[in-house]
Subunit: 230 residues, 2 copies
Amino acid sequence: MHEDVKGVAAAALFSGLYPDELERLLSHATVRTLKGHEALFAEGDKAEAFYFLLAGAMRLYRLSRDGDEKVIEIIVPGQTFAEAAVFLGGRYPVSAAAVSDARLVEIPLRDFTRILKDNSGMALRMLAGLSMRLHQLINDVQALTLETAGQRVASYLLEQCPPEGNSGDVHIPVHKNVMASRLGVKAETFSRVLASLRDRGLISVAGTDIHVADREGLRRWRDTAGGGRA
Amino acid sequence: MHEDVKGVAAAALFSGLYPDELERLLSHATVRTLKGHEALFAEGDKAEAFYFLLAGAMRLYRLSRDGDEKVIEIIVPGQTFAEAAVFLGGRYPVSAAAVSDARLVEIPLRDFTRILKDNSGMALRMLAGLSMRLHQLINDVQALTLETAGQRVASYLLEQCPPEGNSGDVHIPVHKNVMASRLGVKAETFSRVLASLRDRGLISVAGTDIHVADREGLRRWRDTAGGGRA
DNA sequence: CGATGTGTTGATGTGCGTCAATAGAAGTGG
DNA sequence: CCACTTCTATTGACGCACATCAACACATCG
């Protein structure tokens, strides 16, 4: 077993597995590396493995009939993804590609289902994980229908911003166009919203590092204005 | 145990439970009735039970800061809902209210968690259920960002329409404004889209009963036009 | 230093929400 | 059974938030 594979033990999903179970699960796991914009799998592909991200970043996305793309989720190191494919007729419900050079552990689903059956603790942890993802998606649906572009961006900054004090830093782990898609906004609009917030003195932007200067003011802006592009 | 409670056995979630397990799960279950627009629980409420719908219809929804409502899911008889609350810090992630007089079985979560731990089959069935809901929400997110109002309405009609032949009937189980919210569209727009499809001879509408006259034409309209209000 | 990709900013268009008026449908009471 | 209220649905006029199209600034890299 590759040394990297042991990093998987860090995943919340696997906490509580007995060493021999972990061994069994990872016995056929392999480490893969992807570069740049390399694809990992496509929506509808037969699902034979799920993944744990060690380094880099991944985007999970859907394509429309005419090729437009919506990023459903951004995966950062320490997260597992595509576990739910086991229960979806063995097909991936989204496409996955690297957004920067990535290293990940590929774990065959075959072993996984067997262990899930035997280990109710693991099944419960997976239930907890899926429930949280469900909750996240409900938030997204609500935000997409009931909030403006500006409000979604502001909410993202607020929830990423460390809760101490009235200011803090947010690092965007991917290119801005990817984050824009994740937030359900065109890249141009994303840029304009950030510019507008900057001009108000609420934030300052340096590439993918954003400093929230006035947390409370940002929250107030979201809850009162937030619409339009002014 | 009330006679109605035994109807719960029909739920896919409970198939495969041994009779004594089912008995245990339902020993503290009660039947509740709601009328008209009565509320069942609100987002953020402490979750002490989940539900199986026997008759009527429910809407699960989110409210924005200024009181606008987005229907996340419409529940029809035979479905369970709010099971996932167990794993979300014991709080409901959405609000629930009846859309028409409803009868439902209320099952305490306390018993549920105990049984989940013991019965890995049930845990796996719940994983399957959550996975499907996850998939559904991913579809919603994609549709809300990459499709127009018209395309979403058309897609709904197409997926509800029985697959035999080139025509079929769709029954909307709730008032049109509720269905409109579910589809992420204002009631006025929903009305306009249906009128437009009617004028094209693709469908005919009688209250909440819609006859799809030209399934293939509807699909083509969605994939080519679908935008604007023309 | 040209080439390629990412981000910003401006001008313009449009899908759909909003507001408002009307028409049906359904429920209520005498 | 029919006036009257109330609610849902439809249709029109208008405005706005955001997409689109396009030009340009900047960075990165061979």
